[in-house]
């Protein structure tokens, strides 16, 4: 997650969160503190970065107020979501991510091939039980 400029600060188009208004940070530390509150309250368990106070990254990606991107391993944008809130669609991003990762589109998660799975032997080496019940 990239934590960016507040969408609804107290001194702007104010919308309270859990009954509390937040001012638009004027220092990096203030933004960091709000980001800390955000990740705790929303139980965000992914790496979280903080944009600089000049909003350089948010501007470069036109990310306000929220937006989703996938950057491919080749460094090019593989998915560009529309701007939120109405364009913020994780389902669309998931579909594209499955394509990027070459996962099945039906939601199956393929088992990881760690090279330790023993394969069943076929052919002459396979032990077979004789029919008729006689072990000779």
């Amino acid at each position: 997650m990239v934590y960016i400029k507040e969408a609804h600060p107290e001194d702007g188009w104010a919308i309270p969160v859990k009954g509390k208004l937040y001012k638009d940070p004027t220092t990096f530390l203030e933004r960091q503190e709000i980001a800390e509150t955000c990740t705790k309250d929303l139980d965000i368990r992914i790496p979280t970065l903080i944009d600089e106070l000049d909003d350089g990254v948010a501007d470069a990606y036109d990310a306000m107020p929220d937006r989703l991107y996938i950057v491919g391993a080749d460094g090019a944008v593989a998915f560009r979501g529309e701007r939120g809130p109405f364009g913020f669609k994780p389902g669309l991003m998931e579909t594209r991510l499955r394509e990027v990762l070459e996962l099945p589109a039906d939601g199956r998660v393929l088992p990881v091939d760690d090279g330790k799975t023993r394969k069943r032997r076929r052919g002459r080496n396979r032990k077979t039980r004789k029919r008729g019940g006689d072990d000779s």
Binding site: Q32, T48, L97
Partner: protein, 100 residues
């Protein structure tokens, strides 16, 4: 005799006036060339973001929470993340947002 305008016609005229005013405001340029350049770049991308297929703008930002990020080459916990460090390794999902 003046024909009365319908509510729809009045609303249309208001929208046109507001749009014209906003467009005129957009034409005003800042005296600060650095700030104006940022405004121009922002306007160029306004609403569009970075097109698919284009190189993703690189950044190097401070990390608030590392969670399952692998430690750096020196074994120390990562304190910042550079997007281009993932190139040729794995794709990256970027979720931009804020608490409010």
């Amino acid at each position: 005799m003046v024909r009365r305008l319908s509510k729809l016609q009045l609303a249309t005229i208001c929208v046109l006036l507001l749009t014209t005013a906003a467009w005129a405001q957009r034409g005003r340029r800042s005296d600060d060339p650095v700030r104006q350049k940022k405004i121009d770049e922002a306007h160029a991308l306004s609403g569009q973001g970075v097109p698919e297929g284009d190189p993703a703008p690189d950044f190097d930002l401070k990390l608030l929470k590392a969670y399952d990020l692998e430690p750096g080459e020196d074994g120390e916990a990562v304190k910042s993340v550079k997007l281009s460090s993932y190139r040729d390794h794995k794709p990256v999902v970027l979720i931009f947002g804020s608490y409010t």
